[in-house]
Amino acid sequence: MKIMVPVKQVAALDEDFEFRDDERDVDEDFLLYDLNEWDDFSLEEAMLIKEKAPEGTVEVVVVSVGPERVDESLRKCLAKGADRAVRVWDDAMEGSDSVTVGGILAAVAKKESPDMIFAGVQSSDAANGSTGIATAAALGWPHAAVVAGLEYAPGANKAVARRELEGGTLQEVEVACPAVLTIQLGINKPRYASLRGIKQAAAKPIEGLSLGDLGLTPADVGAGVALSRVRRMYVPPKGRAAMIEGTPAEQAARIIEIIKEFKGE
């Protein structure tokens, strides 16, 4: 029994950041990298299942698509108890969109043939919320998104997932396995990876996969096949807010005035 957990190393902004000269992204100098917050929860969910099952029966494999710096985040996953870590990269993959990344992950899944895939709902930097679902689509697997509660016994042919919807409602769905679930924050309490644990995980190997290993060609990935591209990244001008002082009547009069101004009267 195997659970595959796709993870992403996300970028966070340092204060006082600057944009790249082409204005399509933040200058790399101002980015701090860390494991995507959602992935802490999806990995934890897999770890909980692994630890509940008899020892050695459940294998947790973390997979990430990204350059060498991603190893650091994969090590953190190993420190938390993942059995194996796989990093997929080829320079041709630079600029891939989330659907392409989903395809790459699906290719890894075909190789690994996991019983379940737990992805995060979204990444905190790009926030497309689509990689997990794209993986399911590429595999032709059922999926459940924004899972806030899960009942699943290792090896079972179905799982019950509670999906978080608007207004605090939950939708309980039964999904046939294998399936892709995208895990929501708060489903569990992610464990702490101690620095010693991370250091010790440095001794564990991180398996590397490239295009050829997955039966892909440079033409299948990268910016060239992306369905969308970034045109510009910028900080919008700050909105204006003003406190309206005075008696209720005066405040009302001022509001009417503002509305008229906006309507162009």
Partner: protein, 711 residues
């Protein structure tokens, strides 16, 4: 007839044999107990304190002879103990001398010295010792029974009434049994002596020298006055002789099994004490797979010995800030819990399975996670323990295990991750570390780029906390004004790691320490200075083990020196009525008690000490990473407890601190404990700042952005 000790007179040989049988039995029982205890200690891990034995022994003897540690903060008990100790020792030596002569020297060499003047003098000395022993014990009984000391009621803050190990009445019974058995041995000794004098009143070798045993003689006269005949005295002596002898032998047999063993364990504990305990926490060997203590056998032999050295005196219980505010921690109960656990699991021939040796949990003798996280590593317990029990290293080792298992408050977890990611506990950008210098009208040198005399290691709170930034700016002005050649590490500095290490995140500590050491080693400087006692402690005491040998001073001693040398001139004197709070890491940890007080004096302040000062300073509650964990709502905080103490000082104007965390904690507590407006909390630097007349800054050129100054 010669004047000598009456020994076995009128005893049938059978009776003497019987007595020897009892004697050997007692020795055998003692030896077995000693063996099992030593076997228990040997089941612990190696400890670096082994070695240097001669020097350690001399140190131990000094402490025992002066009773220095026992007299602290409880002079009466210390003196009573000294009385018991020296009397007991004298009586022991006296009795041992009889054995030496009668059982060893006489049978082997025929030599006897127990005669005449020597005997009489000895008799006199032993009588005094007997009085001392009984007197000391009587005070101890009075103290236990009538003084109603809270530290002796054994109430446990970490267990609820009804919990299986809440009840400590067994300890109370043992305390009383100990006192009674000793005092009965003493009293029966005197009555026995008196009965012998009455019985042998017609023998000049006894009667004529009776006043060499003054207590016995006085009692003998009283007995005669009460009409006791020589025959009656003989019968009394026979019965009492056996009672006294058997009681004493039982006492000896009981030593390894009861609190009496502290005679040995406390001495050994003192002998192996570590002067840097908790000031320098133990490294984890590279090859060790798991961090910290999980099982009782993870403790070192010395720590297992510490557990047995504790006499439950309660000084740590009284000094502990966590215990004072009702947190579920008493250092004494941690030690006693672990002792009970060790005795339950490690005294038999074979050790149980590892699962039964786990010291974490909610079971009997196990230590709760909440208990461990309540500790502020302020060192009050270690510092006051009269028998050198080192509680804090055990607590931190146990926390290391909790950290490895992620058993901590989520907010603490978040802080540790922040420190890992950004190098500071505020989660601020590394680039902003020196942002506080922007407000200064001069540029501070970058110690990474040019040589300086003094590298200022600023620390997180002094760098990022807005209130403390003002203090940092004041100190920078002061150094600049005096013309000290100083520089900063700017964004090269990361959290020093003192508190991270005390939380138990050793891996992160190693990363931080080696990071700072690496940066400092590339710089050219003479001394490090810091306003942060926490950074001061770890750089001074712990960095050397990671290859960082630096000279470091706390700013208080630097300023004291500048003032004394006349380099820093005070423009005016302050007439404030102040009190001074010793930061744990400057005071107790590193004995920096005097410099701040001398500076206050030079400033002209009237210093009124709080009751708990210097080594007994009361922690603000921020240590051991507790500044990152909110205290429970609705309960008193240690800082509020401290404010109340300061508030009792009449006419207090300023509560002076010399630690960034203290400033944060106490300014908050000032408000929440209702003393706002009555007095203010100030950093010592701010008081100095008031007295210095600075040059006019406007003439100085504007300073470039620190970002631009750094690579």
């Amino acid at each position: 007839m010669q004047i000598t000790r009456v020994l076995f007179e009128n005893f049938q040989p059978k009776a003497i044999y019987l007595f020897y049988a009892f004697g050997y039995a007692a020795i055998a029982v003692f030896a077995w107990g000693a063996y099992t205890q030593i076997r228990k200690y040997r089941r612990g891990q190696p400890d670096p304190s082994w070695g240097n034995l001669a020097a350690r022994f001399v140190d131990m003897v000094k402490i025992m002879l002066t009773h220095r540690t026992l007299k602290r903060r409880d002079t009466a008990a210390g003196k009573a103990h000294a009385l018991i100790f020296f009397s007991f020792l004298t009586l022991l030596v006296g009795t041992a001398t009889i054995t030496l002569e009668y059982d060893i020297l006489k049978p082997l060499t025929g030599w006897q010295f127990w005669y005449g003047k020597f005997y009489l003098l000895f008799s006199l000395v032993l009588d005094f010792a007997g009085v001392g022993l009984i007197g000391g014990l009587l005070y101890m009984m009075y103290r236990r029974k009538w003084l109603k000391l809270p530290k002796l009621d054994y109430a446990r803050p970490d267990r609820e009434p009804g919990d299986p190990d809440y009840d400590r009445s067994g300890y109370r019974r043992e305390d009383w049994a100990f006192l009674w058995s000793l005092i009965l041995i003493g009293i029966t000794g005197f009555v026995l002596e008196a009965a012998r004098i009455v019985w042998l009143a017609d023998r000049p070798a006894v009667w004529d020298v009776r006043w060499w045993s003054p207590v016995g003689a006085a009692l003998a006269h009283a007995m005669q006055g009460a009409g006791l005949s020589a025959e009656g005295a003989s019968a009394l002596r026979g019965a009492l002789w056996w009672f006294h002898g058997l009681l004493a032998l039982t006492f000896i047999a009981c030593i390894p099994y009861t609190k009496i063993k502290h005679i040995f364990t406390a001495s050994a504990s003192l002998m192996f004490r570590d002067p840097l305990a908790a000031r320098r926490l133990p490294k984890i060997p590279e090859e060790q797979a798991s961090a910290g203590y999980k099982t009782i056998t993870d403790l070192t032999w010395k720590q297992l010995l510490h557990l047995d050295a504790c006499t439950k005196c309660g000084r740590c219980h009284e000094a502990c800030p966590a215990n004072a505010v009702g947190a579920p921690l008493s250092p004494r109960d941690v030690i006693l819990s672990l002792r009970e656990f060790a005795n339950k699991t490690m005294n038999s021939g074979k050790l149980p399975e590892a699962a039964e040796l786990d010291i974490h949990g909610k079971g009997v003798g196990q230590v709760f996670m909440e208990t461990l996280w309540s500790c502020r590593t302020c060192l009050a317990c270690v510092e006051i323990c009269p028998v050198a029990v080192e509680h804090v290293p055990i607590i931190v080792q146990m926390r290391r295990k909790l950290v490895e298992d992620g058993e901590m408050e989520p907010i603490l977890q978040k802080t540790l991750q922040n420190i890992h990611k950004s190098g500071n506990s505020f989660g601020e950008s590394k680039r902003k570390r020196a942002a506080w210098t922007k407000a200064l009208p001069f540029t501070i040198k970058d110690a990474r780029k040019e040589p300086v005399d003094l590298v200022w290691f600023v620390g997180d709170y002094a760098s990022f906390d807005p209130r403390n930034q003002k203090v940092s700016q004041a100190f920078a002005r002061l150094l600049h004004h005096v013309g000290v050649d100083f520089g900063l590490l700017f964004e090269g500095e990361i959290n020093a790691g003192n508190d991270v290490r005390r939380v138990g995140e050793e891996g992160l500590y190693e990363l931080l320490a080696s990071g700072n050491i690496g940066t400092l080693q590339t710089c050219d400087f003479k001394t490090i200075v810091t306003t942060d006692p926490h950074s001061y402690n770890t750089i001074r005491n712990e960095y050397p083990e990671f290859g960082g040998q630096f000279e470091i001073q706390h700013y208080t001693s630097v300023v004291k020196q500048l003032l004394a040398e006349g380099r820093l001139k005070l423009n005016k004197k302050l007439d404030y009525r102040v009190t001074y709070h010793d930061p744990c890491h400057l005071g107790r940890y590193n004995k920096g008690f005097d410099a701040p007080r001398e500076v206050l004096k030079m400033l002209g302040c009237e210093l009124v000490e709080m009751g708990r000062n210097r080594d007994n300073s009361f922690c603000c509650g921020a240590g051991g990473g507790r500044i990152w964990i909110p205290d429970p709502v609705g309960k008193e905080k240690p800082s509020q407890n401290r404010m109340k103490e300061a508030g009792a000082i009449e006419g207090l104007q300023v509560f002076v601190v010399s630690c960034p965390k203290d400033l944060t904690m106490f300014e908050d507590a000032l408000k929440t404990s209702g003393f706002e407006g009555r007095f203010v909390v100030r950093e010592l630097i701010e008081l100095i700042d008031e007295c210095v007349e600075y040059e006019v800054w406007e003439e100085v050129q504007p300073q470039p952005e620190p970002e631009a100054a750094a690579p």
